[in-house]
Subunit: 236 residues, 4 copies
DNA sequence: CATGAATGAGTCTTCATTCAT
DNA sequence: AATGAATGAAGACTCATTCAT
């Protein structure tokens, strides 16, 4: 996401009448993320978005059918952004399924993906998902692919490692829970639960499940300096 | 939560002008939960709430300072409701810390707590938490107590079981992640991820971590009929 | 229509919070007529209407579903107002079909019905009728009843008078044309074509068609002082 | 009016950058008529007009001072179109005043003039005439000439035929009423009142007024097949 | 206590007009 | 000449809150 601050806004304006349709759309989507992160979906108005984008109000309805469409496109962008991220990381991890699973998992807690801003936006959309079919569809598509990939990798590990009683589907479900749950905790308790802790807990879990693939040392290494021992500390 | 259906609404009205302040407040809080579950926080208006409650619009501002206060009271009610539930379950579990930890965990996925309606409300509040300090405070208070209790129980188990490398705080964090993550998945994929599955996955995890306390069989038992094998199935 | 002038508006406001729903609705319909007469349908906004009514903008959407509904109700009111007027006049005309036909015809040019304000409103609706089925339905219902009545009266006169080659339907069509055409001319050329002239021309036509029922003198009497001899004079 | 269909639109575009100012103006006026006929004046935007014309939005403000001017020019075009039509018909009718009057009258109901599209546009402008002096001026100019011509012809016939009590001005007024009234009825009840019927009723009236000039047979001939006997049938 | 009509600030959306290309 | 992205004023509609009854 291009970093659009009020001062950057002026630059956008300078880009002015030349900017291509695609550029403007992305500008508005970025501004929407800023706005939702700051004011929530219900506090996000055409005015807040265009103010962040440094553009005039009329533009939202020019580049998107309406505000609702802008919100959906924003969610879609976030989903594709995330999916593209872990796909790239898996590819970069080589052929080892263990490395791939770890790469996928750690992608969730990478600063580019797991910023407070983006988490806030995600949970705003989750809140609305219950009664917005369009949101659910977008999220489900992303989750399905992620889950399927997860499942495939777990299955390979189980086969490779001869892990007797394990069920790949169970583990994929648990991983999914950890990803989402850690996200929520990072969002609500940024001082008590960090990305680093999340990665460490994730590795610990993988070490426990697939001991012959994940080195216990690694897990405990990630674990080491428990930044905030004791209570979860003050929330945001 | 009292079950407020439109037909029940009429009954409320019949209770009429004599109802005590406390009754009216609870009636409005229940209606707020209904409304948020159905329309989300942003779609919840004084009108939707009072319609669910079968009362007149003027009443919200009579019994609560304003709509915002009503929302906060609703969140507080949910938090206390949940806390009371697991406290009672722990008490009922006797003196065994393992049974207590399990009771606390399973409380999260008990139908009274983990209904689709309530989950929807929770995630609506989480969505807004980012920029509503009042919500964060209410949620944090509840979470802290839960986490502390969790931590204490894990510590006891570690001591009892002589589990070498384990760190109670790590496990409490992971449990917290599983609780929240499973909630999200139950909410978004009610057909793909059930309360039953959530309980099974939770027990599996506990078996893995505290094998000398939780019987592996139990875990696999809860695991048994994987209702929807394969893909996560259609969302809501 | 109650005469709502800006000064009267204040009185409405005084009537204030007590006014019954029916009264408020009529107040808004009256204000809509004022507004359309002054600014046309396209120039009629929620603001102009409520300003004429001396009420706040929010009220339109409280008493009517939306602005469109208010417009339809206004047209319906005008149609019913007109229909009620000629029905009453026919009744007052006794049993003579000639007197009844004349009464119906003259009703169109009675000051209560054929005011510049109301004509302006009628032709605004006619302009939109082409692509608003709702308007057409309302107008058609009124017109059908009027035409049927007209037809029946003409048939009686033909039978009574032994008018050989006449066809009641033809005459009803011609009368309908005269009513509408004279309305348009009165509206556009108030100085060149008056209600009085319209009545006179109507009677002339009736005298020509039904000479044994309508006295030629009457017609020429109504004709007498041709206020603006020569050209049609300046428009509005 | 050139027939501008979407496919023709592309051709216009092809005519492209070389088209003369006059051609572009007419193209826009034709598109305006299409647009008003379909969406009404209030629904006619720069976008609907340019879409019908197959041109870009910027052009309206390039070829006309503003949208209002385009509307006035469109009305002026319609008025001149109509005037030119009956003038040509009168000329073609030879020297007989009766034939000329009839020619003028029938011009109103000629398919080129009395199309549903054009009627719709006329009545849209009449609706706005009340508060748009510019429209009234344009309409009045056309009407005055028509009325004067009508008056002259009637005067000649009265003199020729020795019609005793007749007043040319009265008849011109009545004719004007019939023209406008029949137009309205054709527009609103295309299935119940046709151009053919309108011509027949007009001739019937002329036969009645000027029996020695207009053959009764002709009138009854035009009358003959009353397409829809009985009620006026469904509106548009 | 309770009601619900009334208020008006705030939102989304439309659209005539401008202007850099 | 022509284009169409950009602007922002103005419109319809929503809804928390007030208050007379």
């Amino acid at each position: 996401m291009t970093n659009v601050t009020p001062s950057a806004a002026r630059t956008n304006k300078a880009a002015g009448r030349t900017a291509s349709k695609e550029v403007r759309r992305q500008q508005l989507i970025d501004a929407t993320i800023e706005s939702i992160a700051k004011y929530g979906i219900s506090g996000t108005t055409t005015t807040t978005v265009t103010r962040f984008a440094g553009l005039s109000i009329g533009l939202i309805n020019f580049h998107f059918k309406n505000k609702e469409t802008l919100l959906e496109e924003t969610l879609r962008y976030l989903a594709q952004d995330h999916t593209a991220h872990w796909r790239k990381r898996i590819k970069a991890a080589g052929d080892d399924p263990a490395a791939q699973l770890r790469a996928q998992g750690e992608s969730h807690f990478h600063p580019d993906i797991c910023s407070r801003k983006k988490l806030a936006v995600w949970f705003n959309f989750y809140g609305e998902a219950q009664y917005r079919a369009a949101y659910r569809r977008i999220v489900a598509e992303m989750d399905d692919e992620r889950w399927d990939t997860s499942l495939g990798l777990c299955a390979k590990l189980i086969e490779q490692g001869g892990y007797g009683g394990l069920n790949a589907s169970d583990i994929a479900d648990t991983l999914e829970g950890l990803y989402d749950g850690f996200w929520l905790n990072i969002m609500i308790y940024p001082d008590g639960f960090s990305r680093k802790k999340a990665r460490a807990r994730l590795l610990q879990y993988l070490c426990m499940v697939f001991p012959r693939h994940f080195d216990a040392l690694e897990g405990s290494a990630g674990n080491a300096p428990s930044e905030t021992p004791g209570a979860r500390a003050a929330p945001i």
